[in-house]
């Protein structure tokens, strides 16, 4: 039995029926990680000893005849920007290479309470800045569908681990597409929840008005299940939304007949690869066959999303990353004769090129005399972008687009030109600016590489995205293929 291709809900049933033990599952998971790792390189840190200890507790519970929760005993992994008490959390940066958090992020606390078992911490672009995971200061992660290609980013390790069978599910973070784009490149389900729906307490901050945590899974049911565990109000995050959160999994399986699905024409224009467009158009036909009513709509300010994002995100990053000064944690330069030299050398040596570029850009955009022209202007245009979505959702329940204009690209293809790399996120950025939820599912394949489909919804409408995605998945079986790594 290939346990590493199974979904969390399937493994849960196997545990409940005593067909496998949690210890067997965790051991098999650790073996799979080691077998695939020489090819995929998704993990920065492994926590197998702790995982085995946790598994023993779950098995004791089952042996005692106690009921186990839906994620209890399920092996998972986290992007390495979520704080784990006693387990190194690096953000794939030299400046945090030795940081051991003294506390758990709220999502970690919640997953521990749910009984999920941490196998390790996943690779990422340094401080979540990038679209290919090539900006990790440690090593690049490879796409399990073709190891010559990038897994996407910034949560590339989390996406590749789920695709390669190295974890049943993982968490990532999404500031401009960092969950959805790697999910698309790796052919897995990835949810960017509504701003405020999942607590960010203990997530290392990048751009605070945009960052959200969300799950990577092998199918939609698992995604709903993990959302059930992590969504909710948290007193420790002042941006957490005090609203009612539904049972996402219980809502799956309903008819989507009569649902109004909008195709924003700006997301199907120039720059979208023909092979991607063809797969997405086929997917639209499937939804139409399920009774969805398809119509065209417009998000007229889409072309401004990229410049708005690349002013707001670096501005907020430059402020958030000011805390890395070599005083309280992380790396400190050896050369520190006085305080200012210590700051400057520590940051110059500790941060990588892309992080420095964004700190420079953000510092400039916020500096005296330029604030109004750049940051304030970007925030005003952000209002217009959000307004586009408000209008579209008056007519449509869900909007549909490609997740990325292309399939996974090859290593080094875009590293020389930052602006070209930024264009990878053209279909995903607006969602973060508007604060709404969006979900990537695998729509199909082009030349053997996964093509991602993005569903966007109104704020707090995650359940609708999951229901529509579930209907698509059931109709097409698009979640049943796994990459063959030859291991």
């Amino acid at each position: 039995m290939k346990l590493y291709t199974k979904k969390a809900h399937e493994l849960h049933d196997l545990l409940v029926n005593k067909e496998i033990s949690a210890a067997e599952l965790v051991r098999a998971q650790a073996e799979r990680i080691e077998a695939a790792e020489p090819k995929v390189q998704a993990f920065i840190t492994r926590t197998f000893d702790d995982a085995m200890a946790q598994a023993a507790k779950v098995d004791a519970k089952i042996a005692a005849g106690e009921a186990i929760g839906p994620l209890e005993g399920i092996p998972m992994a986290l992007k390495d920007n979520m704080c784990t008490d006693g387990v190194r959390t690096t953000c794939a940066s030299k400046i945090l290479h030795n940081f051991v958090p003294p506390y758990d992020a709220t999502v970690v606390t919640k997953l521990k309470e749910a009984g999920a078992i941490l196998m390790g911490k996943c690779n990422m672009d340094e401080f979540a800045m990038g679209s290919s995971t090539e900006n990790s200061r440690f090593f690049a992660t490879r796409n399990p569908w073709d190891i010559e290609r990038v897994p996407g980013g910034s949560s590339g390790g989390s996406a590749a681990a789920v695709a390669a069978g190295q974890a049943v599910f993982t968490l990532g973070s999404d500031t401009g597409g960092s969950i959805r784009q790697p999910a698309a490149f790796c052919g897995v389900v990835g949810m960017k929840p509504t701003y405020g729906a999942v607590s960010r307490f203990g997530l290392v901050a990048f751009a605070s008005s945009l960052d959200q945590i969300g799950p990577f899974t092998r199918d939609v049911r698992d995604n709903a299940r993990v959302m059930n565990a992590i969504a909710g109000y948290d007193l420790k995050d002042s941006t957490s939304a005090p609203v009612d959160y539904p049972d996402y999994e219980a809502l799956l399986g309903q008819s989507v007949k009569g649902w109004r699905v909008g195709l924003p024409k700006e997301y199907f224009g120039e720059g979208i690869g023909p092979e991607v467009k063809a797969v997405i158009e086929k997917a639209v036909k499937v939804l139409e066959g399920l009774g969805a009513e398809i119509g065209e709509c417009s998000l007229p300010h889409t072309e401004y999303a990229l410049p708005v994002y690349y002013l707001i995100a670096p501005a907020e990053a430059s402020s958030n990353l000011a805390r890395y000064d070599g005083v309280r944690y992380g790396y400190r330069s050896e050369e520190a004769p006085d305080l200012n030299t210590m700051f400057k050398k520590t940051r110059a040596e500790g941060f990588g090129e892309e992080v420095k570029r964004r700190i420079m850009l953000g510092t400039y955009a916020l500096s005296s005399g330029y604030y109004d022209a750049y940051y304030l202007k970007a925030q005003k245009v952000r209002t217009l972008i959000k307004g586009d979505f408000d209008q579209a959702f008056e007519k449509f329940d869900v909007l549909l687009s490609p997740t990325s204009p292309t399939v996974a690209f090859k290593f080094g293809d875009r590293t020389d030109n930052p602006l070209q790399m930024y264009l990878s996120d053209i279909c995903t950025l607006s969602v973060n600016l508007a604060g709404i939820p969006a979900l990537n599912i695998n729509a199909g394949f082009a030349n053997g590489l996964p093509v991602g489909l993005q569903l966007m919804g109104k704020a707090f409408d995650e359940a609708k995205l999951l229901q529509l995605a579930y209907a698509y998945e059931q109709a097409t079986g698009c979640h049943s293929q796994t990459p063959d790594l030859g291991v």
Binding site: F99, T239, A322, V327, Y364, K380, T383, L419
Partner: protein
């Protein structure tokens, strides 16, 4: 409007980043490219548009004023590059 090397040096000082001459050169070109691209925002009239700082309209998030346990001091200073008697050590300031 374009950014000069001197301005890039000044921004690096504000950001407490030591840059090599090569980096100054590279960032001057790249920041000018990115800021040039951002100029297209100026084409939009936003005189009467309010800025969006946060998408979810939360205001005055309060909690009860009560004392909760704090994190253990030794766990916090354990991460410090240099520490003495539970304090962070830094180079001489004055």
């Amino acid at each position: 409007m374009s950014l000069t090397k001197d301005e890039v040096q000044h921004v690096a000082m504000l950001a407490r980043l030591e840059l090599s001459d090569k980096e100054v050169e590279k960032y001057t070109t790249q920041l000018n490219d990115i800021l040039g691209y951002a100029q297209r925002l100026q084409a939009l009239d936003t005189a009467n548009v309010p800025p969006t700082a946060h998408v979810f309209p939360l205001q005055n998030v309060m909690r009860d004023d009560r004392v909760d346990p704090s994190m253990a001091r030794e766990k916090i200073v354990a991460n410090a590059p240099d520490e003495e008697d539970g304090f962070f050590r830094v180079p001489k300031i004055v």
